[in-house]
C-alpha cells in the first residue's frame, strides 16, 4: 500500500517536473533570454594582496593609519563607521593622548542634549564614542546624495563579495563608459548623476569618484599618496574595521590547530595500540591471545615457575 502510494506520488512529481523542464527548455529556445549590459560588462575585482591575508596574516599598522587618514579626510564626508569606537584606534598604533585628540577634534560632533534645557545639542566626541555619522538620518543622507544611501563602512569588506579587493577595485575602477557597451546596448547609457564603474553590480554607481588625484591626502609617514596607494590603504583599513580581532584570530588559530593535531596523534597512537590486540583477537584460540596468556601465567604462578610471558 505504502509502495503503491509512493509510486503514484513519485510519478506525479516527476510528470509535473517534466512538464516544467520541457516548457523551460522550449521557452529558452523560442525566446532566448537577452544579454544584459550588467552581466556582459561587469568585471570581477582586481587582485589585491594585503598583509592581513592568509592564515598567518597580520595588520600593518602604518598602512592602517594611512587608511584611517584617507577615511577621515575623504570617506567620512558621506559614510558612517557606526560599529567602530575611537578607543579602537589604540589597536592600530595610536597612543591614548593621540586617540583623545582625534576624538575631540573630529569634525562631526556627537548628538547630545543640553544639560540645562534638555534641548538637542552636540558635544565633542570622547574615546568611548563610536564614529559619529555624517548625516542625522537616512532621509538626510539620501537628500544630500542624489537619493542614494552611502552604506556604513564598518563591515563593508565582509558585506561584499570579494571583500577588500572589491573596495580597492571599485575605488580605482571609475572610467568612461566604453563605446562597445553603448554600441551593444544603446539604452544602457549611464544616467546623469551616476558614474560608470564596471566593478559595481549594475555598472552605474551613485558615489562620485572619491579619489581623483595623486596627493589628495598627504600622508604623515611620507608614503607617496598615489590614487592606487590610497585605495589600497583604505581597503586595508576597512578590513581592520570589519574585524579588529583578525590578527588575534589567526594567531590563536595556529596554536589551537597545533594543539589539536598533537592531541589527535596521541589519540591515534592510543587507538592503534588498543586495537592491535583486538584486531587479531577474534577468538581466544591462539597462544598469544590475552585470555590464553593470562591462563598460562596463572598456571605458571600456580606451579611457581617464572616465565617471560
Amino acid at each position: 500500500m505504502i509502495r503503491v502510494f509512493g509510486f503514484l506520488v513519485g510519478i506525479t512529481f516527476a510528470g509535473v517536473l517534466l512538464i516544467s523542464l520541457i516548457s523551460g527548455v522550449a521557452t529558452y529556445f523560442a525566446d532566448p533570454p537577452a544579454a544584459l549590459a550588467s552581466t556582459v560588462f561587469h568585471e570581477e575585482p582586481k587582485a589585491l594582496h594585503l598583509t592581513s591575508d592568509g592564515p598567518f596574516g597580520k595588520f600593518d599598522n602604518r598602512q592602517l593609519q594611512r587608511g584611517f587618514q584617507v577615511f577621515s579626510e575623504v570617506c567620512t564626508a558621506c559614510h558612517s563607521l557606526k560599529l567602530v569606537a575611537f578607543r579602537d584606534l589604540k589597536q592600530i598604533g595610536y597612543n591614548e593622548p593621540e586617540v583623545k585628540k582625534i576624538a575631540s577634534d573630529w569634525k562631526i560632533q556627537v548628538p547630545s542634549i543640553n544639560d540645562q534645557t534638555g534641548e538637542p545639542a552636540t558635544r565633542p566626541a570622547i574615546m568611548s564614542d563610536t564614529f559619529p555619522a555624517p548625516f542625522a538620518n537616512e532621509v538626510a543622507a539620501r537628500a544630500a546624495n542624489n537619493n542614494a544611501l552611502p552604506p556604513d563602512l564598518s563591515l563593508i569588506t565582509k558585506a561584499r563579495e570579494g571583500g577588500a579587493a572589491y573596495v580597492y577595485s571599485l575605488i580605482t575602477g571609475y572610467q568612461t563608459q566604453p563605446a562597445a557597451l553603448l554600441k551593444q546596448f544603446p539604452d544602457a547609457k549611464t544616467p546623469d548623476g551616476l558614474y560608470y564603474n564596471p566593478y559595481f553590480a549594475n555598472l552605474n554607481i551613485a558615489m562620485p569618484p572619491p579619489l581623483t588625484s595623486n596627493g589628495q591626502v598627504s600622508y604623515a609617514d611620507g608614503t607617496n599618496p598615489t590614487v592606487d596607494q590610497m585605495a589600497k590603504d583604505i581597503a586595508a583599513f576597512l578590513v581592520w574595521t570589519a574585524e579588529p580581532d583578525l590578527a588575534r584570530r589567526h594567531a590563536d588559530g595556529i596554536a589551537v590547530t597545533i594543539f589539536l593535531l598533537f592531541a589527535t596523534v596521541l589519540g591515534y597512537m592510543a587507538y592503534t595500540q588498543l586495537w592491535a590486540e583486538a584486531k587479531r583477537k577474534v577468538a581466544p584460540v591462539g597462544p598469544l591471545d590475552s585470555a590464553n596468556k593470562a591462563r598460562r601465567s596463572r598456571a605458571a604462578r600456580a606451579a611457581r615457575i617464572t616465565t617471560s610471558g
Binding site: 510519478i11 512529481f13 592564515p55 561584499r160 584570530r249 587479531r280
Partner: protein, 442 residues
C-alpha cells in the same frame, strides 16, 4: 542490553555500590556508552559520525548559551549590533564564540549528512532499526528548524529575507496558508515579534533535539548498532565492548575532525556564510538573490524546480515536493524491498546510491546560486531523479536484484586469516609452537 554476553556493571567502590543501590546512573552510562555495550567489531569510519554529531550538538549548546547572554533580540538594529558590535568586538573572545557557533552549525550538518548517507548505503533503516531511523529524521527536522531560526537572529539582509521566503512557503496553501504565515511571524512581515519568538524557539529546540537524541540512542541499543556487512551479530566473537575500543576510535577521529572545524573557524570563518548577512536587515531593499544557508540548497532547488502551473499553482507544487522530499524518508524502511541491508552486497542498488549522492550534490549546486536557464534545467532533472530514486527505483531494485553472497558472520568477514592454522607468516613466526607452550613451562 540486547546481547547476553554484555558485561554487567560491577560497582568498584563502596560509593559506587551505594550509588548503584539508590540511583543507578553509572550503570545506565556503563550500559549505554561504556564497557557494557557490545558493538560489532567491524565498524568502519563512517560509524564515527553519530558520536561526532553529538559532539557538535554539545558545541552548539555551549557556545549558544554564552552567546545568548550577550544577545538582544531586537529588530530595530539591536540584534544586528549586539552580534556585530558587542559580541564580535567587545565581549571577551566573543568573535570566537560567534564564529564557532556559525561554523558549528555547518559542521553539525556536514556530519549529519554523512551519518544519513551512511545509513542509506548500509541499510541502517531496515528492520529492526526503523524507529532509530525515524527518530533520526525527527532530529534532522528539528535541526533544520533550529538552524533556520538561528540564521534569522543576527537580523542581516539574508536573515530577514530568508525568514520572509521560508515562512512564505506556508502561504502557498490555499485558505489556511496566509493565516498560518502571519501566525508564525507574529505579523504580516518579519519584525520584532518574529525575532523574539525565533530567539525563544532557537534556545528551546536544541534541548528538544537532545531529548530525541536520547530516544534515538535508546532505540539503537535494543537491536544494537548495524555494521558494514549488514549481517546480524551472532555471538561474542562478533563484538567488542564500546569502551575502550570505540571510545578510542571515536576519540582520535573526533580530534581529526575537530581540527578541520577549527581550521575553518579560525582561518575562513565567513567562507560558508553569505556576505549579505553583514548588511543590516532592510525591508525596503530585496537582495539580488535570496539564498538559504548551504545545507538547505538541495531543498531550495526542489522548491524552485516547479515553474509551471499545472492544475495546482507552481509554488504549491514546489512546497509540496519540498516537504515530501523529506517526509518520504520516513517511509524508506518500507519503500526499500530488499532484505539485504548493506549496499556492499547489492550490486544494482550500489550504483543507484552513488547516483543519488551525485544527484543531491547537483541539487545543491542548482539551489545555491543565481538561477540561470541551465541551472534551473539541471535542478529539475535532479529533482525528477530524487523522487524516482526513492519512490520508484528502490522498490523495484529490491525485487529484481540478486544480492552477492553474504558472509556467515561478522567475525568470519574480519578474521584476517587470524585462525591459528592460517596465520600469516609474519605473525606465525612470533608465535611459539602451539601445543608446547604450557608443557615448556612445566
Amino acid at each position: 542490553m540486547s546481547f547476553s554476553w554484555a558485561k554487567p556493571y560491577e560497582p568498584k567502590s563502596a560509593l559506587a555500590r551505594w550509588m548503584d543501590d539508590r540511583m543507578p546512573l553509572p550503570r545506565l552510562v556503563y550500559g549505554a556508552i561504556g564497557g557494557g555495550y557490545p558493538v560489532p567489531r567491524n565498524l568502519n569510519y563512517f560509524w564515527n559520525f553519530g558520536v561526532l554529531a553529538g559532539i557538535f550538538l554539545t558545541i552548539q549548546i555551549v557556545t549558544g548559551i554564552v552567546l545568548a547572554m550577550h544577545f538582544m533580540a531586537s529588530a530595530d538594529g539591536g540584534a544586528f549590533n549586539t552580534v556585530n558590535q558587542l559580541i564580535m568586538r567587545d565581549v571577551n573572545a566573543g568573535w570566537l564564540l560567534r564564529y564557532a557557533h556559525m561554523n558549528g552549525a555547518s559542521f553539525f550538518f556536514i556530519v549529519t549528512y554523512i551519518h544519513i548517507f551512511r545509513g542509506l548505503y548500509y541499510g541502517s533503516y531496515k528492520a529492526p532499526r526503523e524507529l532509530v531511523w525515524m527518530l533520526g529524521l525527527v532530529i534532522y527536522l528539528l535541526m533544520m528548524a533550529t538552524a533556520f531560526m538561528g540564521y534569522v537572529l543576527p537580523w542581516g539582509q539574508m536573515s530577514y529575507w530568508g525568514a520572509q521566503v521560508i515562512t512564505g512557503f506556508f502561504s502557498a496553501f490555499p485558505l489556511v496558508g496566509e493565516p498560518i504565515r502571519v501566525w508564525l511571524l507574529g505579523g504580516y512581515a518579519p519584525d520584532q515579534a518574529t525575532v523574539t519568538r525565533f530567539f525563544s524557539l532557537h534556545y528551546l529546540l536544541p534541548f528538544v533535539i537532545f531529548g530525541v537524541v536520547i530516544l534515538h540512542i535508546w532505540a539503537l541499543h535494543i537491536p544494537g548498532s548495524s555494521n558494514p556487512t549488514g549481517v546480524d551479530v551472532k555471538n561474542e566473537r562478533d563484538t567488542l565492548p564500546f569502551h575502550p575500543f570505540y571510545t578510542a576510535k571515536d576519540g582520535w577521529f573526533a580530534g581529526a575532525f575537530l581540527t578541520l572545524f577549527v581550521i575553518v573557524t579560525y582561518f575562513a570563518p565567513d567562507y560558508l556564510g553569505h556576505p549579505d548577512n553583514y548588511i543590516p536587515a532592510n525591508p525596503l531593499s530585496t537582495p539580488a538573490h535570496i539564498v538559504p544557508e548551504w545545507y538547505f540548497w538541495p531543498f531550495y532547488a526542489i522548491l524552485k524546480s516547479f515553474t509551471v502551473n499545472f492544475v495546482l499553482p507552481a509554488k504549491l507544487w514546489g512546497v509540496l515536493a519540498m516537504f515530501s522530499s523529506i517526509l518520504l524518508l520516513f517511509l524508506l524502511p518500507w519503500l526499500d524491498t530488499s532484505p539485504v541491508r548493506s549496499g556492499n552486497y547489492r550490486p544494482i542498488f550500489k550504483r543507484f546510491f552513488w547516483l543519488l549522492v551525485i544527484d543531491v550534490a547537483l541539487l545543491g549546486w542548482a539551489g545555491g546560486f543565481a538561477p540561470t536557464p541551465m541551472r534551473v534545467a539541471v535542478g529539475q532533472a535532479a529533482t525528477i531523479y530524487y523522487f524516482l530514486h526513492f519512490l520508484v527505483i528502490l522498490p523495484i531494485v529490491g525485487r529484481i536484484e540478486t544480492p552477492l553472497p553474504l558472509p556467515d558472520s561478522i567475525s568470519s568477514s574480519v578474521l584476517h586469516g587470524e585462525d591459528a592454522e592460517s596465520a600469516p607468516a609474519a605473525i606465525a613466526s612470533k608465535r611459539p609452537p602451539r601445543a608446547k607452550t604450557v608443557t615448556a613451562a612445566n
